[in-house]
């Protein structure tokens, strides 16, 4: 099996996997970074969202072979102490219900606010539209993104 050198959360990893293995499963099964979730496997739900070079990407659609050399950040590496402004806002608003989709939501929101720290309501709703929350915590997510934006500004 081929090996790949990955840079995840500022750490170097070498993994042995099939070429076509999605980054999602390398993170979860090979590296034990299980904060990145499996929801659909086809890029439709956003549960698996990670940052690749600072952009929110669907790790279920990226093959491990394409991830070599990239700077990858997962929910585990978003902040040292779990206190990234987006995480703080999520806690303040108490967003999660079952919680399963939330690391993906947080990764989408944090990448978005990095590029636009003063978003309008419409911009927030558009940015978060790709992430499904089956518990429908959307009102709280919307509010938390606003709270986070205020913290970042």
């Amino acid at each position: 099996m081929p090996t790949f050198n990955l840079k995840i959360n500022n750490k170097a990893y070498t993994v042995e996997a099939e070429m076509d293995t999605p980054l999602l499963w390398v993170l979860r099964d090979h590296l034990n970074l299980v904060g990145t979730k499996f929801g659909c496997g086809i890029g439709q739900c956003g549960a698996c969202t990670v940052h690749v070079e600072g952009n929110a990407m669907r790790s279920c659609l990226i093959q491990v072979s394409q991830s070599e050399g990239m700077n990858i950040t997962t929910i585990e590496g978003l902040s040292e102490e779990g206190d990234h402004p987006v995480q703080q806002a999520w806690k303040e608003v108490d967003v999660p219900q079952c919680g399963y989709c939330q690391s993906g939501q947080i990764m989408t929101a944090s990448a978005f606010l990095n590029k636009n720290s003063n978003p309008s309501e419409t911009e927030i709703r558009n940015a978060m539209h790709g992430n499904i929350c089956r518990c429908a915590s959307y009102n709280s997510i919307e509010k938390a993104v606003k709270v986070a934006a205020d913290k970042i500004k």
Binding site: E18, K37, G82, C98, N131, I132, Y138, N139
Partner: protein, 738 residues
């Protein structure tokens, strides 16, 4: 009719204590039954015995409180709200309280509480008693040390004070308290003195969730664990004939390809029901691999041949079958008041409408999965299940093992909505591990989950009402459902008692497509039908929609039938609150309002939907909700539940649809099945009725009425009455009035 239903908590010996060897006091208690007389609270915290007690509270020498909760969390917040109730009566600062998920025990399951809307209601009184009893023991211990009477002492925020002003922390007296007699009578707080209940409290798992800690079933791992992907029949009605695994076995990460099914068939032959397609008695091909991806890839490489065992059904067939049932005479009458036929015969006017709904998959965000490690001496099972008792008992039968050898651990669940009440996934995992005798995790893909589910049954209602002298003189509800839907209590919901000639009739078609509980079972579509019908009925009668309801409820108050489930006063209360907050009847230009009200899961809910039309399609802007669910224990969690139910209800009423063609579900992932997303989501404006009645369900009751509120608003905007779900398929764009 009483305004509140008292919980049947009788004071028995439900609580015992010990002094911990490591310091501090341990309280064991039982929420449902008395403790066994020989039950002992351990002195070593690692020896907690959940056979004898179903929960424990530890109070340390520093006064810190740890609650070992047996409640699994499925997203309804019970893991937070139950400890809040104990801490309130114990009177400790919430910041000093820690909640730890206790592993489940398999031996004494009648003690276990598997979360859900009802659990708060059932445990309200016992949880308060527990906290208050522990507090009283601490007070008694302090009083004894001071040599004063306990009545001269008060306890607040973890500190006991006597009349001279001396103070002792709970931690200072835990050892003496542990040796005290358990008091038989304790006083509960006056609800107006609550300091924790009614204050918004964050989810106790929040830190783990926002940092991606392994909390869920899918995250669970053990040394040497393998992964399994199961190939099941593509169509309901098919079974495996043969398969070729050559290509799958050539994949490097694939370890083995096996079949399972024999144990499941055996299990079914003992009289157990087949909840889902995954347990239909067919052989299934299982790919065992080193990683999830290898297993999924291996499964795709299997070449399988399936044969038909029973008829393969399609959606047209279901539609025709259910409509034929509605037209036919093979009904079972669930409730009959007065003389419905006479009412129709003598009516000035009759309104009759048929409402139709689709099958719905649960689509929990975390797909089904379960870990099993079957060995010669024991069976270890871990995963997201709402029914650990069922899992243990079923696996014992499945593998012909002693239930005492089975140890079930529950993880946090990535959503339930009813799906995790069925334990097919745990049985599969157990049969796989039993075959390979290794620790293994069965993982379903989204496609597996959506196409081999246990669905909300496709259901049709026909509602008929008669009007005589400007009053509703008769009301008849007929249900035709795949697999059966309505159960005992529903016929006693509104408008039973409000209309003198009243009848509910049901008919079922038994399909090979598996159906079962789905969020707010039985009423999730019924409320849509009923509340759309009343909107049309009010219009036909030329009366105000809201006033019609208030008047009918006035009539219901005169009916003293004890079987009636709803409380008219409480329904009137939420109607008034919702319409006032929504500014009902005074919508802004371009905004159309729809109203709906419903009682279910012991809670009373009224909703007003505000919609606007955007390019010929309705956009739900806002939903105003009034909820009477008794005491709101945790407003933060409660608001999440309410908003979630409303948005989920809108999503499924507008978009939810699973059709079948020759037994094959026609959607299998989120590209072909539409779930509501952020951009389609209204703001939910939530108002709770002030109450000190025991809390009732919140996970379900806001969902059923909302589809009708939206449909009624769409009618105002377009003049079109929507009777078929998903509504989005039936909105005629040219019908827009504006």
């Amino acid at each position: 009719m009483t305004p509140s239903k008292q919980s049947n908590f009788s004071r028995r010996s439900f609580l015992k204590t010990s002094a911990l060897a490591s310091g501090g006091m341990l309280i064991g208690f039982n929420l449902f039954n008395a403790c066994k007389s020989d039950a002992k609270v351990p002195v070593d915290i690692s020896q907690l015995n959940f056979n004898d007690f179903n929960a424990f509270i530890k109070i340390s020498n520093e006064g810190k409180v740890t609650i070992f909760s047996i409640n699994p969390e499925i997203g309804q917040g019970v893991k937070t709200s139950m400890p809040m109730i104990i801490a309130e009566e114990l009177d400790v600062p919430w910041d000093d309280v820690y909640v730890q998920q206790a592993p489940l025990d398999t031996k004494n399951f009648n003690n276990q509480v598997a979360g859900g809307s009802q659990s708060i209601r059932q445990n309200w009184e016992p949880l308060r008693q527990t906290g208050a009893t522990a507090k009283q023991m601490l007070v008694n211990a302090a009083a004894a040390r001071w040599g004063v009477s306990p009545s001269e002492c008060t306890a607040k925020q973890g500190v006991i004070t006597n009349s001279k002003g001396d103070k002792l922390g709970y931690g200072d007296v835990v050892l003496e308290a542990a040796a005290m007699q358990v008091p038989e009578n304790v006083t509960l707080k006056d609800p107006k003195d609550f300091t924790i209940i009614g204050k918004g409290t964050s989810n106790v798992d929040i830190d783990g969730i926002i940092t991606g800690k392994p909390l869920f079933g899918l995250d669970y791992k053990e040394e040497g664990m393998l992964y399994a992907s199961v190939l099941r029949p593509p169509a309901f009605g098919q079974v495996l004939e043969s398969f070729d695994a050559t290509a799958a076995k050539a994949i490097p990460g694939v370890i083995d390809v096996i079949t399972i099914g024999e144990k499941a068939r055996n299990f079914l032959s003992k009289g157990y029901v087949s909840w889902t397609a995954t347990l239909s008695g067919t052989d299934k091909v299982v790919v065992i691999a080193k990683t999830t991806w290898d297993a999924i890839k291996g499964k795709k490489a299997i070449k399988a041949v399936w044969k038909d065992e029973s008829p393969l059904e399609s959606t047209e067939f279901h539609n025709k079958t259910l409509l034929d049932l509605l037209d036919g005479t093979s009904f079972k009458t669930m409730r009959s008041d007065g003389d419905i036929d006479k009412a129709f015969a003598e009516a000035d006017e009759v309104l009759e409408r048929t409402y139709e709904s689709s099958f719905l998959p649960h689509n929990t965000m975390e797909p089904m999965n379960f870990f099993a490690n079957v060995s010669a001496d024991k069976i270890h099972l871990v995963g997201p299940t709402q029914t650990p008792e069922e899992v243990a008992k079923s696996v014992a039968v499945l593998l012909d093992r002693n239930v005492d050898d089975i140890y079930v651990e529950m993880t946090r669940m990535g959503g339930g909505f009813g799906r995790r009440l069925y334990s097919d996934f745990a049985l599969e995992a157990a049969e796989i591990s039993n075959t390979i005798m290794k620790p293994v995790k069965m993982v379903s893909t989204r496609e597996d989950d959506m196409t081999t589910g246990v669905y909300r049954p496709a259901t049709k209602y026909r509602i008929k009402a008669s009007i005589k002298n400007g009053e509703i003189s008769g009301y008849q509800l007929k249900e035709a459902a795949v697999g059966g839907n309505m159960y005992g209590l529903i016929p006693n919901f509104f408008p039973a008692a409000a209309i003198s000639n009243y009848q509910v009739d049901v008919a079922n078609y038994n399909s090979n497509i598996t159906t079962g509980a789905w969020r707010a079972p039985y009423t999730n579509f019924l409320a849509n039908a009923e509340q759309s019908f009343f909107d049309e009925l009010a219009e036909l009668m030329g009366v105000d929609r809201v006033q019609l309801h208030l008047d009918l409820l006035e009539k219901a108050k005169q009916n003293l039938d004890p079987k009636i489930e709803y409380i008219p006063e409480r329904l009137q209360g939420v109607i008034k609150l919702a319409t006032e907050k929504a500014n009902w009847g005074h919508a802004k230009e371009g905004v159309y309002q729809g109203f709906s009200v419903y009682y279910c899961h012991n809670s009373h809910v009224a909703e007003v939907a505000d919609i606007v039309m955007n390019n010929g399609l309705p956009e739900v802007k806002k939903v105003t909700v009034a909820v009477d669910c008794g005491v709101v224990v945790n407003p933060l969690g409660a608001k999440n539940q309410v908003a979630g139910g409303v948005i989920d209800g809108i999503g499924h009423a507008l978009y939810g649809e699973l059709t079948f063609n020759n037994g094959i579900p026609q959607s299998n992932n989120f590209d072909t099945y539409q779930l509501i997303r952020m951009g389609q989501t209204p703001q939910v404006d939530i108002h709770f009725v002030d109450s000190d009645i025991a809390p009732t369900g919140l996970g379900e009751p806001t969902l059923p009425p909302v589809g009708a509120a939206v449909a009624n608003a769409i009618y105002k905007a377009t003049g079109q009455r929507l009777t078929k779900q998903p509504y989005i398929n039936h909105i005629k764009v040219e019908k827009i009035l504006s």
